[in-house]
Amino acid sequence: MADKLPTKERIKIPRAAMPEQRADLRIANFREVNLGLETAAAEREAQRCLSCATPACVQGCPVGVKIKQFVDEVVAGEYLKAAATIREDNVLPAVTGRVCPQENQCEGACVMGKRMTSLAIGHLERFVADYERQTGQIGLPQRAASTGKKVAIIGSGPAGLSCAGDLALRGHDPTVFEALHEIGGVLIYGIPEFRLPKQIVRQEVDNMRLMGVKFVTNCVVGRTVTIDELMNEEGFDAVFIATGAGLPRFLNVPGEHLAGVYSANEYLTRVNLMRAYDADSHDSPIYDCRDRTVVVVGGGNTAMDSVRSAKRLGAKRAIIVYRRGPEQMPARAEEVHHARDEGIEFMTLTNPIEFLGDEQGRLRAMRCVKMELGEPDDSGRQSVSEISDSAFEMPIDVAIIAVGTGANPLVQSTTPELQTNTHGYIFADEQSLRTSKQGVFAGGDIVSGAATVILAMGAGRRAAAGIHDYLQSGNW
């Protein structure tokens, strides 16, 4: 057990760097890029924490993980205790330790960041969760006595899992319904193996089974069963809708129907859920990217995941095409940095206006225009406009459209009492997450629009609290 160093010494320690798989090697495989901190590095990093009296990092965390406490436990060498501390607020520590945008949350709020570099809270969270998993001694929190109340959770992504975990801890009986054949939602079909190994998601899901959460795959709520049937015929006392923002947006330009043009959702689903990258043993096909030019349209994390997947599938050129400038790209800095190291090309201030095909209907080229940034609008975002006479044609073989997603209407369309806004997102009270229908709650991307894993988990937690209140009081 290490003693805490004096502050003067602590601030001299440089921030731990995440070891990575070498770029020239990793572009030929789908194994994880980040390798995780060694124990000594983690302990040294934890020593850097200034143990603030009122830790800003906790305020910055959407689920309120007791960061100061778990970091102290790392300093003390009590890694399993640290893991249990995280689990009290976050059911998926090995996931969030990998995919959270910590720079905008806990680490963004860390006071050390003002004068030097912030504490590497994400790396520490990952270290603790991986340590726990490798030892096989999962520190599951204690469950409350059974209440006998059944809750149906629709969607097994981060919001649904987080809600299910909290409800189980409070003694309720949650069942998670998933449309696909595997549990995890976007963690399974969306985020690639090299950023989040699927084995980790499976193990977190298994931990939730141990906590008493039930899972039903292959069940499309709205088709296989409706919310009314769940409540009236199958005895569920409450329902949480966490279906995410799964409807892909297209550019609506000519030629988007061509073979070789994918939505990022389809491309990533084929690669991740269907394991098309392992073509020797899996049946699902994907358009051959080997020695071809693949363009990904968009500048977010999904675009980075798509373009880096294409590179690993053998693309000769893998190119991001984004209509604003590099500074405006919404992707995490780490993802962009990883992409650049892997030889991804960036064509910013460029916008496709047409896809062109051959006589068999296969994509062969795209037409783009160059863009320029204008004055910032009221929201502070710079406008962007087309430069006249800037159109050019470029031969490409595959195009992946990653310009965002919308609300999938399946559940709403079969539950008429649910109020939605003009974009199809469900109205829910911000605190209680109650919808317009009694006993039904909603949260995550289906309420907020596409956001992050951890914000969805935060919504799942609030929903669990709201559902708990409702089940205890019976008042709507």
């Binding site: 059944k150 449309a179 129907h257 049946d283 209907g361 296969r362 999938n408 209407p409």
Partner: protein
């Protein structure tokens, strides 16, 4: 896991499979489909539901062995499990009393036309069924189709059964009769549906086709099944699978459906060369989390029974094999 309770060939390479899937059986309406996956390394493919029996908790699909997965399905027998079946997906067929309706089934499409014919006849329509195939031994469900219609016309390309010619030849003749047709529903290969669409367009007869694009999830998430209808992209899985034939771009549909042809041919060849290893993957599939949690106790009992009969080495709580 979804056990097959009955399996038999209806024609060469065309097999009828009755699958235990109580939740789907309870909900299915004509025109809807399921997506299934045979084993952990399998692909997801859409298949239209030909019939369902809510009391027995079963659905029936009729499969023509074309690609790898459909050929593997054709090798399965009663007692074999299907790992994943999800549905019923898609919008059901519009069923009302339109008046005189021609229902056209091409090849294995007849299996999908049958429940539509039944429902339309029950709704009071005068149903004229026209079924066609290349040769006599590819014709299926003739007796059932006869019962589900007021008149049945059979066409084969080579004249080996019924009359020689295409279904559109007979459709043209039927269109000349009085009173005129109020609606046409065509289900079959893309060239057949395109030909029916061309035939009815000049007369302006409302014509519905059931499209079969490549799909992955079947819930509107991936957009892989997008088809051009009236110049706009529509998702067949949630906006369809049935569309106004006169607005569908069949050329684009055919092009998109041939996107993976080389891959499909190669995997079908591989399967035919050594089907045993693929069959073993199906038969060792064991996963009980899938359908049981809140479902009927009967389902759980069946699952356990199947799991045990399929492989005694397969523990009840086993995780899917990697």
């Amino acid at each position: 896991m979804f056990p097959i309770v009955n399996a038999k060939f209806l024609a060469r390479d065309v097999k009828q499979l009755e699958i235990h899937a109580p939740r789907i059986a309870r909900k299915q309406l004509p025109g809807q489909f399921v997506i299934l996956r045979l084993h952990e390394q399998g692909e997801r493919i859409p298949l239209t539901i030909a019939a369902s029996d809510p009391a027995a908790g079963t659905i029936t699909i009729i499969v023509q062995g074309v690609g790898k997965t459909t050929r593997l399905l054709n090798r399965l027998e009663a007692g074999d499990p299907i790992l994943d079946v999800v549905g019923p997906l898609g919008k059901p067929t519009d069923i009302e009393n339109f008046g005189r309706v021609a229902i056209i089934g091409g090849g294995v499409g007849t299996a999908i036309a049958l429940p539509v014919a039944r429902a339309l006849k029950a709704a009071g329509n005068h149903v004229i069924a026209i079924v066609g195939a290349r040769t006599a031994d590819l014709l299926i469900l003739l007796d059932e189709m006869r019962q589900a219609s007021n008149e049945l016309h059979i066409m084969t390309d080579d004249g080996s059964a019924g009359d020689q010619g295409f279904v559109t030849t007979r459709l043209e003749a039927v269109m000349k009769r009085q009173p005129p047709l109020d609606r046409v529903v065509a289900i079959g290969p893309i060239p057949m549906m395109a030909a029916v669409s061309r035939t009815t367009r000049p007369a302006g007869i409302p014509t519905i086709v059931s499209l079969n694009p490549i799909m992955v999830d079947g819930t509107g998430m991936c957009g892989g099944c997008r088809v051009q209808v009236d110049g706009r992209a529509q998702f067949a899985c949630v906006d369809g699978p049935e569309f106004d034939a006169h607005k569908v771009d069949f050329t684009i549909l055919a092009q998109r459906n041939s996107m993976y042809h080389d891959h499909e041919r190669a995997s079908a060849r591989k399967l035919d060369a050594s089907p045993e290893s693929e069959l073993a993957k199906v038969r060792s599939a064991c996963r009980l989390e899938a359908v049981c949690a809140p479902g009927p106790a009967e389902c759980e009992r069946l699952e356990k029974a199947t799991a045990q009969s399929v492989s005694s080495a397969c523990a009840v709580d086993a995780r899917p094999g990697e």
